[in-house]
């Protein structure tokens, strides 16, 4: 008889403190030892995690009203511009926005972390003034406790697979994938591999809209498919996409986050990004889910892409698996090339452990997705056309 478990059954076990929860790394040996069927019977939840730079990160803030009130049109937080083309005192601070005075040394990501840390942030805003909002400017300080809502809303996080980067030119390249040394000096890669959320649920059976997740130290939710969601990618026999595919839009309460699990990143000569910690629990509903989560680095493939070609479609130099990338060097056309991660496996593991603990202690329950992601999504490109063209 095949194994079937429901969300309700698993949550009941969590409530009774008897759910078996293991990380996506630990589960590999369990499956080897017990086989898929017995492992599916035994394990209830598998925790996955990632901690890598995710540029598409930002936070919505509501500052509260001053007296007399102001309809803010231009807002800066510690000298970093926040988008305020919204209602009077709402703004969105994007992680990659840079300081007007300090450049890429300080930016939106830093403002977000300073807010989380409870620091005072200087808020400056101007307005043309209206009958209902007569104030023309404001210069004050806020903290996360002095304002109303503050929630992280990230349009694109947790990429399902990502290409590794190399540089065949004779000049060093400074990229969001780190420094790429000339003449194929190194290969940088950027997923947590066998621990990565979407590698463990490749067909989005349990990760969808409404899934409850661990986000930067607190509970968060998947709110939508992430931007550039490209699920209609070529896949291997395990359903794993061979190139960057699905992404997640996530939301969570910034006030409850911890800078242990979210950090500003400054990439030399590129700009600001943000390391975001995401953990996703995967319920073992049946043997198929068990098979998905038992995937190993050696079965996960990605392409090596040449970043020295400054066009949309960069040439691919070969295909590698994550076990090869993790080994520290790769042989490419007879040359041994050093590999380096950009995603912290150490932190990813810490998140998977933290989430495990939360579930085992009955402080985190699984939420079934309200709606599943499409499997046939493709990407459009941006073409340069003039007004008459279709």
């Amino acid at each position: 008889m095949s194994i079937k478990k429901t969300y309700e059954e698993i949550n009941e076990k969590i409530k009774n403190g008897c759910a078996v929860v293991v990380s996506a790394e630990e589960v590999i040996d369990i499956v080897k030892e017990k086989g898929i069927k017995d492992a599916a019977k035994y394990v209830d939840v598998v925790t996955t995690a990632t901690f890598g730079p995710m540029c598409s990160t930002g936070a919505f803030l509501n500052f509260g009203h001053s007296d007399p009130p102001i309809r803010m049109t231009k807002v800066t937080l510690n000298d970093v511009a926040a988008y305020s083309g919204l209602a009077a005192v709402d703004a969105y601070i994007g992680a990659t926005e840079i300081s007007e005075s300090k450049g890429i040394e300080y930016g939106g990501a830093h403002v977000i972390c300073d807010l989380i840390d409870g620091k005072k942030i200087r808020l400056k805003a101007t307005s043309p003034g209206t009958d209902c909002y007569p104030r023309l400017e404001i210069d004050t300080y806020i903290t996360k406790d002095s304002i109303n809502e503050a929630y992280l809303f990230n349009p694109r996080n947790a990429y399902q697979n990502y290409s590794a980067a190399i540089n065949t030119s004779d000049k060093a390249l400074y990229t969001y994938m780190g420094i790429l040394q000339p003449n194929m000096g190194n290969i940088n890669y950027c997923t947590s591999g066998q621990l990565s959320p979407l590698f463990n649920d490749p067909l989005y059976r349990t990760i969808g809209i409404g899934t409850r997740i661990f986000l930067a130290g607190t509970t968060g939710y998947i709110s939508w498919q992430g931007t550039q969601f490209f699920s209609d990618r070529e896949r291997d026999e395990n359903g794993i996409p061979l190139s960057p595919a699905a992404t997640l839009a996530v939301v969570g309460d910034l006030k409850k986050m911890s800078t242990e699990y979210i950090k500003p990143a400054v990439f030399e000569k590129y700009g600001i990004s943000m390391f975001v910690g995401i953990g996703i629990p995967i319920p073992i509903l049946d043997e198929e889910m068990m098979k998905f989560v038992s995937i190993e680095d050696k079965d996960l493939y990605t392409s090596i892409v040449d970043y020295s070609v400054p066009s949309r479609n960069k040439p691919t130099l070969g295909r590698v698996n994550y076990a090869q990338l993790r080994s520290g060097s790769i042989n490419l056309n007879g040359k041994s090339i050093k590999t380096a991660p950009i995603t912290s496996l150490y932190k990813s593991r810490k998140i998977a452990e933290e989430l495990k603990k939360l579930i085992m202690e009955g402080n985190f329950y699984l939420q079934q997705p309200i709606e599943a992601f499409p499997l046939n999504n493709r990407l459009n490109t941006l073409e340069i056309i003039d007004a008459e063209e279709e």
Partner: protein, 134 residues
């Protein structure tokens, strides 16, 4: 054997042909990894010595005798271990594996003796926690 040493010269020694002496008199291969020496001001030199153990010891004794300060594990970078997230971005550029990720724990370690002082890691660290140690 090889040994890496960091030399600090007082101003009156900056005109001494010390590498020449090390080569000629002590039969050492010298490899200058980094130098900042200006005539009549304090200078420093990051040097790799190659030769027999005895010759290296004698060479170092000679340097100390003439008044050069010799530092064995000097490094020009400072790594703020507490603030490190162990991402590994710095390891991509480190030419000597002085910065290395452990393949079990995936924690970064820094081995000052292997550091060549190239400072590429300062630029590569997205958290900006590797700084100039001088």
């Amino acid at each position: 054997m090889k040994k890496k040493i960091f030399l600090i010269f007082p101003p009156h020694l900056t005109d001494q042909p010390i590498t020449y002496t090390l080569i000629k008199k002590y039969d050492l291969k010298t490899n200058i990894l980094r130098a900042s020496i200006n005539y009549n001001t304090q200078g420093n030199l990051l040097l790799e010595l190659e030769g027999t153990k005895e010759n290296i010891s004698s060479g170092i004794r000679y340097l100390e005798n003439i008044g050069v300060k010799v530092d064995f594990i000097h490094t020009e970078i400072k790594w703020d271990e507490k603030a490190c997230i162990h991402c590994g971005a710095c390891t991509a550029v480190c030419p000597s594996d002085a910065l290395k990720l452990d393949s079990n724990s995936w924690l970064l370690s820094f081995n000052a003796e292997e550091c060549l002082g190239c400072k590429l890691c300062i630029k590569a660290c997205p958290l900006k926690i590797i700084t100039n140690g001088l």
